[in-house]
Amino acid sequence: MMRGMAVAALCLALAGSGAAAETVPLGDEDTVMQALRDELARSMQSLKIDGAEGPYFIAYRVFDVVSERANASLGSLLNRGTGASRQLVVELRVGNHDFDNSNYVGASPSRTVRAALPLGEDYDALRRQIWLATDRAYKQAVNDLSGKTAALQNRTRIEEVADFSREEPHRYDGRDPESIDPGRSEEMALAVSAAFRGMQELSLSEVRANAQQSRTYFVDSEGSTFIADRHSVQVEALAAVQAADGTELQDFVTAYGRSWAGVPEPQALKAQAQQMAIRLIDRRDAPYLDRYTGPVLFEGQAAAELVNQVLAPRLVALRMPLVENPRMRTMMTSVLGNPFLDRLNARVLPRFLAVVNDPTAGHAGDDDTAPPLVGTYSVDDDGVPARRVSLIERGVLKALLATRVPVPGIAASTGSRRGETPSPGNLFVEARGGFGKDELHEELMLLAAERDLDHALVVRRIGTSAARLAMGAMQPDSLPGMGGQGSSVQPLLAAYRVFPDGREELIRTAVLSGVTEATFRDIVAASEATTRHDLVFFPLPALAAMPGMSGVVGTPTTYSMVVPSLLFEDITVKRPSGNLPQRPLVPHPLTATAGEDAAGD
């Protein structure tokens, strides 16, 4: 009886994206979907405490995940794991779209309601867990709404921003018959980590490989629903050396894909890792750069990471909640503050640059043979269809990526919810009238000459937050120097002095100083050619490394960026500050077996 009603209610609301199945709800044959729909219908109809309202919105998300991971060092396994789980996340709202229980952090902040659902097809067991989780979510929502109402009783709200946007219902079936090959993580970790064997110069190395085969079920009370398979694989190879003066240098190779076919073969990654280690060993003996202010050209990965770490976090709309605790309010205000919220329709880049986010793009450019972009999706985690969004046009900020949680000036979703927060899908940085390679270098040298500098700087690699986090766990006592002075950019891993005769000189280690989103307005030129990079996005990079902040910082997501080389007129680069750790007293074991003098390197 109740199930029949649920079906009817959903059919009325279904948008016409499905083909023949419009009178049948998505995944009708699927027990999980059935259980979700039936409990959703029952809860919307009957869940109510005397003296309080019932929910006006419920969304269920179920993450069905089979995952595996393996870490290895020097071709030998450190650990591995594999498992299966099915988790339900309940989003339940009481009140109305304009004012509800959300965007509020009370004295004892609410946690997202999660429950482990049974694997398999046991309808009764599924319903039971969904029922209990919904009950918890409802009680929490009623409590939050009353706390929030009380907190606002004696205050006048200056900005009336709705709590939840209204969106057209949408349905999507993204089931994918492909699955992830089991066992490849271990094979990959073992093969790639063997790249570092015999390299006594390395103070440490580790390779982490993991894969998730994930199916997401989504159903909400407004008629949106989807089933989407979103598989992912990651490989990270990390290595470190210590220079004679104690400086610790690190580098990494990463590969992200939606299947093992989307990342290079183990032997190819192993070769990349070997090259990385050789670069790292070269940097050990490279000269320092004490301080440099002048033109800097960011090429390839460095351009992509610079955009990822500085500009991209400003392109997402994060809502500042109403926070009861004053200390927490101060902290969250400083962390969530985004200067770009005040710069809509203002210039944030030079006129020749544009930025587009397009999760619907499958490949970079017209090349169908390249590995597919990793930020591609059809429907976001609110069930809102993905779309191409022009964020910056002719240097002017036009939009921010948003979920259904509005912020001042942004009322509707752009279909950008990935995990808890908005994140880029595939980001395209486009330059009008871009320079050829030689032209760009000429321009760089001209700018240097204007300042009477005998050389300029080119940066080809920048560290990442993900690698820093991984490395931090392996090297607890040495944190690589941060940029400091308002810059949250990770250290430069491949920076070169470039001389007028074209000669290049590698720099041992350096950091950017004072680079912020405002610096991007001073880009003077960009290349015509673009390169594609796969990155990890941290919505709040400054907080990503802090423990216990995962709820606030949002979920790190992988995405692809297509970016030209970017030439900045005026950037300060300097040597990282801080004390240097001593070299080990005991020589590396390989040195000892080879009978060589350890102090000689």
Binding site: S73, L78, G81, G83, W131, P584
Partner: protein, 592 residues
């Protein structure tokens, strides 16, 4: 995977423990009747567990240790002791609730622990700073590969360097601290020497048939579906094959291999007043054949369902003092918390500890019919495996039987390698979980009573006491879920154990289930009120959390009669029962 794993950690080996110095909390489980067979485990062992590590692991560790020492022992602050311990855990678990499987995990990891000491046994880097505190107990997570010599050597090398830098830095602080503070009350050194031990055990593979385990999880949790008041009902079947490689600079080289198997079932309901009422049953074994047969587990499940149902409507207990019986199950937890933790050697030395028993050696602490000893070499008791058993502790010291109370008189403490006044040597109780620093911990505790009484006699004695003192009733603590005790000086030196099944015993002998009572008290007063014991020892296997992490422990103890105990009201949640009735699953589900 990660999500499900986290959920069940709460029940599993990584259970939430209190590692804060002054209080420890222990999860406890019930006794088990003599073991049965687990027939369904046949030939379907998981293949990857059969892979052993390189046989040269110990040799590689020893040679790398010697190589490092050649340099580090010659430094101005020399390294005088170095040990490496690698603990490999291969774990399989299956979990589920309400008759369905919720997930599974298979994992293997190899944790590395290094004990590197700078200075001398009299004074080294581990010395407690009187201004600034003890060494942090939890350490950096180190991992080591064991299948390859180059990889293992490189890993040991770089972590040894890390540990040396930490140790020499702290040793400088220690020397200053000793100079600027008053002389220590306990003048003994920081470390005791021990002769070399050498032993090698063969690897043990897990016997896991995941499909059979899934069937068990479904079977064990299905009966809870029938009750509409049961709000959670989970089962976990878990196994761990643990291999430890230990070498030290005294010439010890030890490889041990063990397996642990566990079935854990937990369920909870809520009374109308909001009180959450939990029940847990756990079964431990050192080999799969010693796990109980399904009939035994199912009997426990049905008992849980009935007890939860009865508890929901049981009357609330008001604060009370008076006579009580603790069942064998309950007294095990009681002795573990309030006696066992206070016999851990390092607590007699730390200036932050209450040192309850430090000056009581040779004095009476329990009735003279009571003797207590710890015996990690005992593996079974009445057909039940004891999980607190081991052959070598985490400091390379051979396990042995240690009497601590003889005929009521305190005779000794549980010792790791940190000496205390009057007890200069380890007795094989230096224990820890991977990633923690070793301290003295309990193993298998045996409470031996020379004059035991039958259950009926104990009950008669209780009723006499009730009448004598004019009390309206006595209490019977049948099951205790866990507890904690404070051994430090900054807070009252008390204990709190949390019973789940308690009965009022009325003067006419009738028994009535009650809820909401926590058993509280202070140790010395409570010991002095133990008046009699039962004659049927019960076994408790559990996991104990303290400074050095979670370690498996067991107690073997009879029921006891205490002349006066105190109960306080349990903290209760104000939450209410679910608003909607359970989904009409019976009707809808029938068609599927």
């Amino acid at each position: 995977m990660a999500r499900g794993k986290r959920l069940f950690r709460a029940l599993g080996a990584g259970a939430v423990g209190t590692a804060a110095a002054p209080s420890r909390s222990c999860e406890r489980m019930r006794a088990r009747r003599p073991a049965g067979r687990w027939r369904s485990l046949a030939a379907l062992g998981v293949a990857w567990f059969a892979l052993g590590a390189s046989p040269d692991t110990l040799e590689t560790m020893e040679s790398e240790l010697r190589r490092s020492l050649e340099v580090l022992a010659e430094q101005p602050d020399p390294v005088y002791f170095l040990s490496y311990e690698i603990t490999e855990d291969k774990v399989v678990s299956v979990y589920g609730s309400f008759g369905a499987v919720g997930g599974w995990n298979e994992s293997e990891q190899r944790g590395l622990d290094i004990d590197l000491r700078v200075g001398s046994p009299e004074l080294d880097n581990t010395h407690e700073l009187r201004r600034g505190g003890a060494l942090p107990h939890q350490r950096v997570r180190m991992q080591a590969p064991v299948s390859d010599e180059e990889a293992l050597r490189a890993t040991l090398w770089r972590w040894t360097d890390h540990e040396y830098k930490q140790a020499s830095e702290r040793f400088t602080q220690v020397k200053t601290d000793v100079q600027v503070t008053v002389a220590a009350e306990d003048p003994t050194g920081d470390f005791s020497e021990h002769g070399p031990e050498r032993a090698t055990e063969e690897h043990v593979a897990l016997e896991v048939d995941r499909a059979a385990w899934e069937a068990k999880v479904r079977k064990y949790t299905a009966p809870f579906r029938a009750s509409k008041h049961i709000l959670s009902a989970n089962a976990l079947v878990w196994a761990d094959a643990e291999t430890r490689w230990y070498v030290n600079s005294e010439g010890s080289a030890i490889r041990t291999a063990n397996t642990f198997y566990r079935i854990s079932i937990s369920a909870s309901t809520r009374a109308d007043d909001g009180m959450v009422l939990p029940r847990t049953e756990q079964f431990f074994a050192l080999s799969p054949g010693n796990l109980p047969p399904d009939e035994e587990v199912m009997a426990a499940v049905h008992r849980m369902v009935a007890e939860l149902d009865a508890l929901r409507t049981a009357p609330l207990v008001e604060p009370y003092t008076g006579p009580a019986i603790l069942s064998g199950r309950a007294s095990g937890v009681f002795f573990h918390e309030i006696l066992g933790h206070r016999l851990e050697g390092h607590r007699q030395k730390s200036v932050r500890e209450g040192q309850t028993f430090r000056r009581m050696v040779g004095q009476s602490v329990l009735p003279e019919t009571f003797s207590v000893y710890f015996d990690p070499t005992a593996q079974h008791m009445a057909g039940t495996d004891l999980v607190g058993s081991y052959r070598f502790d985490n400091e390379g010291v051979k396990a042995r039987r240690v009497p601590v109370i003889e005929n009521g008189i305190l005779t000794g403490f549980l010792m790791g390698r940190m000496p205390i006044e009057g007890f200069p040597k380890s007795n094989g109780h230096g224990r820890k979980n991977t990633g923690f620093r070793t301290v003295a911990r309990q193993s298998n505790m045996f409470v031996d009573v020379s004059e035991g009484h039958s259950r009926d006699d104990l009950k008669a004695m209780l009723l006499e006491a009730v009448e004598r003192e004019g009390k309206p009733w006595g209490l019977f603590f049948d099951r205790i879920q866990g507890g904690f005790t404070v051994t430090g000086r900054m807070l009252p030196n008390s204990f709190n154990v949390t019973p789940t099944v308690v009965y009022r015993i009325h003067p006419d002998g009738s028994e009535e289930m009650v809820r909401g009572a926590d058993l509280i008290g202070t140790p010395l007063t409570t010991f002095s009120r133990i008046v009699a014991a039962g004659n049927e020892p019960a076994v408790f296997n559990g996991t104990c959390g303290a400074e050095s992490g979670l370690v498996p422990v067991a107690t073997v103890s009879p029921a006891i009669l205490v002349a006066q105990i105190e109960v306080q009201k349990k903290a209760a949640s104000q939450g209410r029962l679910p608003i909607l009735p359970p989904p009409g699953v019976a009707a809808i589900g029938a068609s599927r």
